[in-house]
């Protein structure tokens, strides 16, 4: 099957095809999942090189589990999210308190320097505020508002109910708003990003 046609298949179908010997399926899965995994790992670890290592390791575990994957048992994204979370936790235990300056910043050439600096400052302020939240609240807020997942999928990932997810997100956002208010003027908090 050509690459473009595979783009419409689910992650689970692609994984089964990969296990059956389809090399193109691996490329489609990689293009779909690697950016998401890297984003998660970068947010958690703050260091690009570490996040890349975690991304490679998480994807390797996905390749290895492919022949034993049972269709309908779980979503690939759910399984992968947990793997990434565990790998990041292991690394955080080993390397506490690393410098955030080590993070490689993506550069948007279209954005002005001042705007980019403000975006970076906001992103960094959010990262710091998220880090101060209880772990479950932080996880729920990140999954909903940065990864853009729906609440049912978040509930599956976090192994809890949808109402509990809604509650975690609401409490997390209240705490974030209170935390970030303190840096309101510095970060252009209420100007809609302009």
């Amino acid at each position: 099957m050509p690459y473009d046609a595979m783009d419409e298949l689910s992650d689970e179908s692609l994984l089964v095809r990969y296990a059956g010997g389809d090399a193109v399926a691996a490329r489609v899965l990689m293009a779909r999942l690697a950016p998401w995994v890297l984003a998660q790992a970068t947010r958690r670890l703050g260091i690009r090189a570490e996040a890349e290592d975690v991304t490679q390791e998480a994807m390797l575990r996905l390749w290895k589990v492919a022949p034993r994957w049972e269709p309908g048992s779980a979503r690939v994204s759910t399984w992968l999210y947990r793997v990434v979370a565990n790998l990041c936790t292991d690394r955080q235990r080993r390397t506490r308190g690393v410098a955030l300056s080590a993070v490689a910043e993506p550069v948007d050439p279209a954005a002005g320097v001042e705007e980019r600096m403000q975006d970076d400052a906001r992103a960094e302020a959010l990262r710091a505020a998220l880090a101060r939240l209880p772990a479950r609240q932080r996880e729920a807020v990140e999954l909903r508002h940065i990864d853009g997942l729906a609440n049912p999928e978040i509930a599956e990932i976090m192994d809890t109910g949808i109402e509990a997810v809604e509650s975690l997100i609401a409490r997390g956002k209240r705490a974030l708003a209170a935390d970030l208010t303190q840096r309101k003027d510095e970060l252009g908090y209420t100007d809609g990003g302009q």
Partner: protein, 123 residues
């Protein structure tokens, strides 16, 4: 619950965080693809091993399972051993037995057809 203003304000931060998300480098993607190919090659090797194992099992089942195969192997080894290094008693027994057979008897029950039955043949 966070109010509408708070939500709008937080959206600015979430958007900044999403835009800050790095893209995987070409080098990282190459490493992931190489892992995928190497792992997939391992699946083929294991599948071949499983197929070979399946043929061996069919053969053993045809013989009657592992106990029958073990008996057959033991008999084969014993036969080879006796053939290469026969015990002295066995050679004496064989000589005595053959000495009792003095003649070869050819019974031609239908002389016209040329079909013969050979009863015993001396060596």
């Amino acid at each position: 619950m966070a109010g509408n203003d708070d939500q709008r304000d937080l959206d600015v931060f979430f958007e900044a965080a999403r835009e800050r998300t790095p893209d995987p480098s070409a080098a990282l993607l190459a490493r992931i693809a190489a892992d995928a190919d190497a792992t997939q090659a391992g699946f083929r090797v294991r599948a071949h091993a499983r197929r070979s194992s399946g043929r061996l099992r069919q053969f053993l089942d045809a013989l009657g399972g592992w106990p029958a195969a073990a008996g057959l192997a033991a008999a084969t080894l014993a036969g080879m051993w006796i053939g290469f290094d026969p015990p002295g008693d066995l050679q004496a027994w064989a000589r005595d037995s053959l000495d009792q057979v003095q003649n070869a008897h050819v019974i031609d029950i239908m002389p016209g057809t040329g079909l013969d039955l050979i009863g015993e043949a001396s060596l």
